[in-house]
């Protein structure tokens, strides 16, 4: 063999600023004061809409406060999560996420709160801590409310005045599986009327809420191919992927899935099976970090992320930071309560309204951490107490 000297051939492997930072040589970063010392839960309920969410407050030894949010939490689960999180360094949000995976809601809320703390420690908005901003404003949408086409048109008008240009539209009431052409045409009429009322500058997400049979959903997706929905959300249940496969293979209407999912493998199945065009992880079940990981996965499939959110104002803040940290973010739902009392509650809780939208886009928060100031009085006032 003509083989030159081996050792010579082997690769070497075998051979003025916005920040108050001070850079000192040999500066060592410690966890001093950063251990989690207090966790508190605040179950809340909006007075008119009845929308429920739970806020979580985490305080470090040094007094940094972080806020998070999720859905309803049992006292037993909270006790378990508290034991896991207490005394751990608050910056180690990825370590703590791993420990809390069995409790998706608490995992999500704790993650938001820890990133809030990390941002405050670093004196920067969370999106900057996470490598952003990737954008300077976030495309938004509002869910329309109402049973009838007329009520939805009124709801859209209100949301349009509030600045939204994209709307989540419920399918008409579903009576039974396989409702046939009457249902398809009723949905079509509903969307046509809304588009006519809204003009060219508005867009729609059709919300199937997981209620439709594969047959109905597929017929609808086919009927709406040339209507150009942004996407058809949750067209069927995901108890198995077969219905989703059928719908995705029979039309080019973009599909959104994932609002109830929190297992990374379930999101990956959606991508791997090529049934999803818009990944819809919920803030309240996944938190910021887990959605970032799912977004990284989706990016490799050239798939967009539009996190699901129908909770409170803390998760809205989290969602906006998340949006500004992702390259493949598309749109963020922002809850838009009808009643003034509900809206007041949301802005009082966090010191200001982050839920302001102009011409279809929400502005990014600019303060440290989540960029919200917790109003303790409001928290106590609105706190839901056992009857």
């Amino acid at each position: 063999m003509i083989m030159p000297d081996r050792t010579a051939l082997r690769r070497a492997r075998l051979a003025s600023t916005a920040f108050a930072f001070s850079l000192q040589k040999d500066q060592v970063v410690t966890d001093s004061g950063m251990k989690v010392s207090v966790l508190r839960l605040y179950p809340l309920r909006e007075p008119v809409s009845g929308r429920r969410y739970t806020l979580l407050k985490i305080v470090t030894e040094s007094g940094l406060v972080g806020m998070g949010e999720c859905g309803e939490v049992s006292a037993a689960d909270f006790a378990k999560a508290t034991r896991i999180v207490a005394e751990k360094p608050a910056t180690a949000y990825e370590v703590i996420r791993q420990h809390l995976l069995p409790w998706p809601g608490l995992q999500a809320a704790v993650n938001m709160a820890l990133l809030d703390i990390l941002g405050k420690k670093a004196q920067a908005p969370i999106y900057q801590v996470l490598g952003g901003p990737t954008r300077f404003k976030a495309r938004s949408s509002a869910a329309l409310e109402g049973e009838t086409d007329a009520a939805l048109a009124t709801s859209m008008k209100r949301a349009h005045v509030a600045g939204h240009r994209a709307f989540l539209v419920p399918v008409p009431r579903v009576g039974a599986p396989n409702q046939g052409q009457a249902f398809i045409q009723a949905t079509r009429r509903r969307l046509d009327r809304l588009r006519e009322a809204g003009g060219d500058g508005v867009d729609f997400v059709l919300d199937g809420a997981g209620l439709l049979s594969a047959g109905d959903a597929s017929s609808l997706a086919h009927e709406l191919e040339r209507f150009h929905l942004l996407w058809f959300d949750e067209p069927c249940r995901l108890s198995t992927l077969s219905p989703a496969r059928k719908i995705a293979s029979e039309s080019v209407t973009a599909l959104g899935f994932g609002r109830h999912l929190h297992d990374p493998g379930a999101f990956q199945d959606l991508l791997r099976e090529e049934v999803v065009d818009v990944l819809r992880p919920s803030l309240a079940l996944n938190g910021i970090s887990q959605i970032r990981k799912m977004a990284a996965l989706a990016e490799a499939y050239y798939v967009a992320v539009a996190p699901h959110h129908n909770g409170g104002p803390v998760a809205t803040a989290a969602a906006l930071h998340l949006a500004a940290s992702l390259p493949n973010f598309f749109l963020q739902e922002i809850p838009l309560p009808v009643s003034e009392a509900d809206r007041r509650m949301r802005s009082e809780l966090v010191g200001a309204s982050l839920e302001t939208v102009a011409d279809g886009f929400a502005a990014l928060p600019t303060g440290s951490g989540l960029g919200i100031t917790l109003n303790e009085d409001a928290l106590e006032r609105y706190r839901e107490r056992p009857a």
Partner: protein, 440 residues
């Protein structure tokens, strides 16, 4: 030759003087329908949400530890108007000149921009380059990306692994050295040394070069080398074997079948990486975990490896895959599929240290490579001279975590001057018995 001198000369000057046309589209003679509209959304659009820090200069250094090195390090230094500087590594073996030129091609993307927006810049460098993935572009992006993370950490006052939510273990990240031993006695000695140092894992290669189909003698030689590793190192040390893509799927499958009883930690690159289904054929017939990925660029390149069940362990290299941003994304993808991370690291100290930061925040991390033996080598003495600490030397079998903000080291341009760029040199060229081209 002129090109080499051109690059050598520029290395010291940091490419500072090259003027570039500002309006890329307007002066173009291209009239194709794909000519982009130039829109105004540059750095100005982010003023309200940015950090107010600006990158003021970018310098590229070719660093040859020996004048005839075929793999000079390529380092990138970014300077900001706040005084904070960041270092990154863009080393691409055998292609130093090309990477240095490519880093400089990104000058317009970087100067004047906000260093905190690392994801935005990563996307812009990758997407606006049009050709997207490729090792030269990937390595150039990697160098800039690491420097941006170094700056981010320093500005935010935290080590990079804390920005990423770590450390998973404050004692550091588990590592392996290469087994520098050619017989049983040396392996036994290595085993004793490892035991005293707390080192728990080694990697080695298989001897020689392999044709598409191999002879009985060649197969027995390769199998014998792997058996000797296990016998010499004993049952308790984890062993990875790097096939280095020297083998075809046909030969690799036979070798892997033979060494199943050795319980290797992994077999690495059992065939070349660009054809995923070929490696899948090997993986289907193997119970030994398959590791691969060191030559891949960007997370996009990992989809098929994951979906087809090829990779049990991904080894993307921070200096080629696209820096911290891209390595983190690969780890996130792998995590969702129960795939472990064992990143490749065979270049300079900056990329290796940056990798340790990502490892420390990766729940699915397995083990970290360093291309060195249990005894420090010449390059590691130089690294210590540069950085002031023994970078990438394990303590109790782990690479300790840097404690300072950013990537956690201080490096001066002066320190590099002793090792000037010796130019780009071709990597090894090897041939079979009949003169045909062999892979190493």
């Amino acid at each position: 030759m002129r090109r080499r001198q051109f690059l050598t000369g520029l290395a010291g000057a940091g490419f500072a003087g090259i003027a570039r046309p500002r309006e890329l589209g307007a002066s173009s003679s291209c009239i194709c329908a794909m000519l982009p509209l130039q829109n105004a959304l540059g750095a100005e659009a982010f003023l309200g949400v940015g950090s107010k820090i600006k990158i003021t200069n970018m310098k590229v250094f070719g660093v040859s530890l020996t004048p005839d090195s075929d793999r000079p390090y390529v380092f990138v230094k970014l300077e900001t108007d706040s005084g904070v500087v960041g270092w990154g590594e863009a080393t691409l073996e055998g292609k130093a000149g090309a990477v240095m030129a490519c880093v400089d091609d990104f000058r317009e993307f970087i100067i004047g921009s906000d260093p905190m927006q690392v994801e935005h810049h990563w996307q812009s460098m990758y997407v606006h380059t049009f050709y997207r993935a490729g090792p030269v572009i990937g390595s150039a992006i990697a160098g800039i990306d690491q420097a941006l993370w170094d700056i981010r950490g320093k500005v935010l006052g935290l080590p990079v692994y804390k920005l990423l939510g770590g450390p998973m273990d404050s004692k550091g990240v588990r590592g392996y050295y290469h087994a520098r031993a050619s017989n049983k006695e040396e392996l036994a000695h290595l085993r004793a040394t490892a035991s005293s140092l707390g080192v728990t894992c080694f990697k080695s290669g298989i001897p020689g070069y392999y044709e598409w189909i191999e002879t009985n003698a060649s197969i027995r030689r390769a199998v014998g080398a792997m058996q000797m590793l296990r016998e010499g190192l004993g049952p308790d040390i984890d062993i990875g074997v790097d096939f280095h893509a020297k083998t075809s799927p046909s030969v690799a499958s036979i070798l892997i079948k033979e060494v199943e009883p050795l319980n290797l930690l992994f077999v690495e690159e059992p065939c070349p990486p660009e054809n995923v289904k070929a490696m899948a054929r090997i993986a289907r017939r193997s119970t030994t975990p398959i590791a691969t990925g060191e030559r891949l660029v960007a997370s996009f390149s990992c989809r098929e490896l994951i979906e087809l069940g090829v990779a049990d362990i991904l080894q993307t290299d921070i200096n080629h895959v696209g820096g911290i941003t891209a390595l983190w994304k690969v780890a996130a993808m792998a995590e969702a599929s129960g795939i472990s991370m064992a990143p490749h690291a065979c270049e300079g100290p900056i990329g290796s240290l940056a990798t340790v930061h990502v490892d420390a925040a990766t729940p699915n991390f397995l083990v970290q490579e360093i291309c060195s033996g249990v005894q420090p080598e010449m390059k590691e003495k130089v690294w210590e001279e540069w950085l002031g600490f023994p970078a990438m030397r394990m303590v109790n079998g782990r690479f300790p975590l840097p404690q300072k903000p950013g990537l956690g080291f201080d490096l001066t341009e002066d320190a590099l001057k002793k090792y000037p760029f010796g130019g780009t040199r071709p990597m090894a060229r090897v041939f079979h018995q009949d003169g045909s081209v062999a892979a190493w």
